[in-house]
């Protein structure tokens, strides 16, 4: 009996170990590419400079909540200040500290994904081999890695969202509610998309996942309500149409153009954006609101990347639809644990699309992208389990289709390396335009601001990165949109 138990444990452990090994091998070079991207000029430098200007953290906190009439992001500045101080005390470069944190977020995203899908056997391992490239290859994932502000808030939200999904699948423990409240508070204090943590809590509870208790639902809902009350008290409004540029059809409009065109009657654009946000998750189209398909139709040229993205997403989404119809129609009471995770993940995807009401951006739907990969794992594992019961021809056809899908997603995942190297090259070159020798009159007057800017600029210039001119020429057409 004991031997049989050990044998079962060993059977389950092997696929799990292989899943971890695959994750490590694929994540390592990704981490290297993320680390090579210097701190950005846009979005990052301003936050760093502001964080150093204040004599105390409490003064920075007090002022940071009123920095913008449409955003409440105090943790953006606080964590920047802490990381600068940590870099100083550890004797690290600013670059090493901020890029190290970004690498840590990447690692956490992958680790939490592996924990969330729970590989249990050989079939799961095969499904995992399809789902891991989906996680990394989906356009919303690279959006969390390319830029930082100077810490990528969307990656932080993604970590919190996946952490809730992992906890929700475990038997409830006393510390789950406070821990999830902490994750929600952290996410809400870095960016508005942090509300997706609460959405995940509600979706998990609605799906009946045992780790989310009524206490967790009540406390997180109270916390979210408190967040809105605080925003209201501080007169912080939500960004409306025209707060950010976004696409419509085949054209990208600036924020001013958007306000002029849709400001008076925004409902049509809001509906377009929400539908577009969901379509972007499910079909990889549109991107930032612009349909490359419409451009291809207009110009009569289809770039390979468009075909690869569309086909891979179409096949995977068809798989999700199949799973939904096949497994969920019996009703909530008869759902398995995996069915419940699938429902929670699908719910998060649908609600996430609503957050794109004012404008569509890949980063905004990044929690949905993580859930897409989780749902794809579950659907793929379920489909693979049906193969022995199917006719040989059908099994071969399904296996071929899944292999094609996996190959396309793997190609997309490999392309992330190229996109990140390209970002490193571009970001490093952006620093040449800062503190220009021929424009010394534009240099900061404040010695502290000048010193910080000079230090980060020097760190960026010294870090050599690959030039796209010496990388494969074909890569632009196949990996860059």
């Amino acid at each position: 009996m004991r031997r049989a138990g050990l044998a079962m444990l060993s059977t389950a452990m092997k696929p799990r170990a292989v899943a971890w090994l695959l994750s490590v091998l694929i994540t390592l070079p990704l981490a290297d590419s993320v680390f090579r991207i210097p701190i950005q000029v846009s979005d990052s430098l301003e936050a760093i400079v502001i964080s150093t200007e204040y004599p105390t953290t409490s003064r920075l906190l007090a002022d940071s909540i009123r920095f913008s009439p449409t955003t409440f992001r105090p943790m953006r500045f606080l964590q920047t200040r802490w990381l600068l101080a940590a870099a100083m005390s550890a004797g690290l470069t600013y670059n090493a500290m901020f890029r190290g944190v970004h690498v840590l977020l990447l690692v956490l995203l992958v680790v939490l994904f592996v924990l969330a899908v729970r590989v249990r056997g050989q079939t799961d391992l095969v499904a995992f081999a399809v789902a891991l490239p989906i996680l990394i290859g989906i356009h919303t994932f690279v959006a969390m890695l390319q830029e930082a502000f100077p810490v990528n808030h969307y990656a932080e939200v993604g970590v919190c969202v996946l952490a809730v999904l992992v906890l929700a699948q475990r038997p409830p423990r006393w510390f789950f509610a406070p821990l999830i409240c902490l994750l929600l508070a952290l996410a809400l204090s870095v960016i508005e998309s942090g509300a997706m943590v609460w959405v995940m809590v509600i979706c998990c509870a609605a799906a009946g996942l045992r780790g989310i208790t009524r206490t967790t639902v009540a406390t997180t809902t109270a916390l979210l309500a408190g967040y809105f009350v605080l925003r209201h008290a501080l007169d912080i409004a939500s960004p409306g149409i025209g707060g950010h540029g976004s696409g419509f059809g085949a054209t990208f409009y600036s924020s001013e153009e958007l306000a002029q065109r849709f400001g008076a009657h925004p409902l049509g654009l809001i509906a377009y954006n929400v539908a577009g946000g969901l379509a972007s998750l499910l079909l990889s189209e549109p991107r930032q609101g612009v349909y490359s398909l419409a451009i291809a139709w207009r110009d009569g040229v289809v770039h390979p990347i468009l075909a690869i993205n569309l086909v891979s997403s179409l096949v995977t989404t068809a798989l999700l639809v199949w799973y939904g119809i096949r497994h969920l129609r019996a009703g909530r009471a008869s759902w398995s644990d995996r069915d419940r995770v699938f429902v929670a993940a699908s719910g998060v995807m649908a609600v996430n699309a609503v957050l794109t009401a004012a404008y569509i951006k890949d980063e905004i739907i990044s929690p949905g992208g993580l859930c897409y990969a989780v749902a794809a794992f579950i659907a793929c594992a379920a489909l693979l389990e049906t193969l022995p019961r199917r006719a040989l021809a059908a099994s071969v056809a399904i296996a071929a289709l899944l292999t094609l899908d996996a190959a396309l997603w793997t190609f997309r995942a490999a392309g992330v390396q190229y996109v990140l190297r390209y970002a490193a090259f571009k970001t490093r070159n952006d620093w040449v335009e800062v503190l220009r020798e021929d424009k010394r009159t534009d240099w900061p007057q404040d010695p502290r601001e000048l010193a910080v800017t000079q230090r980060i600029r020097d760190e960026a210039i010294v870090r050599r990165v690959a030039s796209p001119s010496f990388m494969p020429r074909w890569a632009d057409r196949w990996w860059v949109e």
Partner: protein, 137 residues
């Protein structure tokens, strides 16, 4: 599983051997490949921005390497930003070189570069050998 395993094996290889390491380039090559940051790093390390350097085939010319100054590379690559950076960091252009550059710009037209080189009249390019002509150097 095969595609994912292939990616994992490639990942291991990329981790050990390094994927797309930074190339060793000359100052002129850095400019020709829009790598202004690398050009600035080389200047800071003491590279003379007025010296000619080798540029491998395929960057400024299709099938043969040339030896050009960084400023000539900036004109050839149609990079006004690089030209401005070089001029701000020690590069100089004398009268004769200016004429060559303006003639080169006539072939590799760029309004930003033309503006930096000054004078809107078309230059007299009779007898001028361009920096990338095979027999120029």
């Amino acid at each position: 599983m095969a595609p994912c395993v292939v990616l994992a094996v490639l990942g291991a290889w990329w981790t050990v051997a390094g994927l797309w390491p930074a190339d060793d380039v000359t100052l002129s090559e850095a400019v020709a490949t829009r790598n202004n940051a690398e050009a600035l790093r080389l200047i800071r390390l003491g590279t003379n921005p007025n010296e000619p350097f080798r540029v491998r085939a395929g960057l400024l010319t299709s099938d043969y390497e040339v030896t050009v100054t960084p400023v000539e590379a900036a004109v050839g690559a149609q990079r006004a930003d690089a030209l401005r950076m070089l001029l701000a960091n020690g590069a100089t252009i004398d009268g004769n070189e200016m004429r060559v550059l303006r003639c080169y710009e006539e072939v590799r037209r760029d309004s930003g570069v033309r503006e930096l080189l000054g004078e809107s009249r078309a230059p007299d390019c009779d007898g001028v050998r361009l920096p990338v002509d095979r027999a120029a150097r």
